[in-house]
């Protein structure tokens, strides 16, 4: 099996400090007391749901930012 290696190892720099940003979602979502509440509501969604759905979007943005910066 011959594979084309299109990624030259030298192109990948050492881990950028920006990658630490990727840790943010873990405490934010795993520490439940941060968000286990009904109020304040947003568009009828209790805070419990708004918060976690907001973090889906935020995590995507953080990952995208780190991708763009470290590439």
């Amino acid at each position: 099996m011959v594979h084309r290696i299109d990624d030259d190892p030298r192109r990948h720099k050492r881990a950028s400090p920006w990658r630490w940003l990727l840790l943010i979602p873990y405490p934010a979502l795993l520490w439940v007391p941060f968000y286990n509440a009904v109020e304040p509501r947003f568009l009828g969604f209790p805070f419990f749901y708004t918060y976690q759905m907001a973090f889906v979007v935020l995590t995507a943005i953080i990952t995208a930012v780190v991708y763009l910066i470290t590439d």
Binding site: M1, L29, F48, F55, Y67
Partner: protein, 536 residues
Amino acid sequence: MLRRAERALRRSAVPSLSRFEKTMPVNWIALTVFVICFAGVTILGFASANWRKGDLDLIHEWGLGGGTFGTLITWFLIGGDIYTAYTFIAIPALAFGAGAIAFFAVPYTTLIYPITFVVFPRMWSVCRRHGYITAADFVRGRFGNRWLALAVAVTGLVATMPYIALQLVGLEVVIAGLGLPTTGVLSELPLLIAFVILAAFTYTSGLRAPASIAVVKDVMVYIVIFAAIGVVIYRFGGFGPIFEAVPAAKLVLATPPAGSTGAYTTYATLAFGSAAALFMYPHALTAILSSSTRDVIRRNSALLPAYSLVLAFLTLLGFMAIKMGVGSNPLYTDLFKRYSNTFAVPALFLDIFPSWFAGFAFAAIGIGALVPAAIMSIAAANLWTRNIHLEFINPRATPQQEAKMAKLVSLVVKLGALYFVVGLEKDFVITLQLLGGVWIIQTLPAVLIGLYTRWFNSWALLVGWAVGMGFGTYAVAQTGFKNATYTLSIFGTQVPAFAAVYALIANIAVAVVLTLVFNMAARPERRDATVAADYV
């Protein structure tokens, strides 16, 4: 077989009873739309053999699609892989029955992506450089220990089988939603037909089939979810009234009682443990390795959360089912009795959508069962072929023989899954899948930590794996195989958590201690087929 005949007999012995109960008639319009959609993807599945044509007699082409998938196809493929038919049925069902705890699926499917972003480009690189196609291949090369590789392969196989079976359970529930008979001799027929379709196109087209079908399935799922949100806004002016229908005790997690961390640690460990386990599943790695560059994986880590948002709305369908009162609708009583809360989503679709669109929505879920079931059976076949057959039975197999073996095994695996669904009690299959999650995470030290360090002694890893498997199984057995929560008393505080996480901690602790002990007794292991440059 005997048991099945017995069951069929028992069913046919009481027809007079059901004749007087109010049962759901066959919904012909929904059934027609469902069949048309299924026929369409069947054709697509077979046609995929010619897509980006490769030599399908080679395992790398059949089992990894030649490793040519770009960002978009990988997005659909992983999406079809993670967000399965069973997810679409079970998570809203949990919300319908138990409330807020079901929402753990959202942090779970969010927290996987930063891990994916950092870890899996490394996995992709080392596997591409050495021609590895399974996690056990990598472990074999990295640690040079065929028994450790065997442990990883066997864990993958036993965790995957019930997972495939659950996809067929998801299919069974939507078929029931079409009003087809759920008892009697003919009741297993639709499932058998779907199964034959699945087996045939997987056999002929390999990973290309689920990759192309995933595109269709995901587009359908997105349409259904937007339609459901549309219905909510049109009928109720927003989600407020939906949440108001949920009993206060279920709307958020219960505040832990004194001296316990209660639902909080259960929720957090379920989310984190599931996230850590996910990419240890063989089918997830298959999708990762089929991408064409490591950049595809990094890019997808930022794009895939779109599915998690869809999953959030899907979970809320469970609350919508509460609002619509489908549980007390006499039309669905029978099916709720038979399928319990898993019938919540089909009942809701029948309730809020016109027949033709309900058929479309059911087809979306049904096709959503075919995609992961195909990928899972391919991944299991790769494991068997590479890490058991090639390693222990016939080391001299040619690549063509390997591919042939993998194709056959993909059939056997699916037959096994079919037996699970038809021959075993449903609760038992769900228990097995639960255990599968606890088991698969025990391969994390060898696979995931192994990507970063060769420090561990391979035998220490193997003993750690055994301890994790044993403890995890024991912990789930303590609950009577009902759930995977285990309560540990830490400094006088009760800490209930996902058993997989405790078992993993025990696993890693044993591996660390034994590595130190072994390194004192003898020279550290040197075997390693990989070098640092392979990972970047």
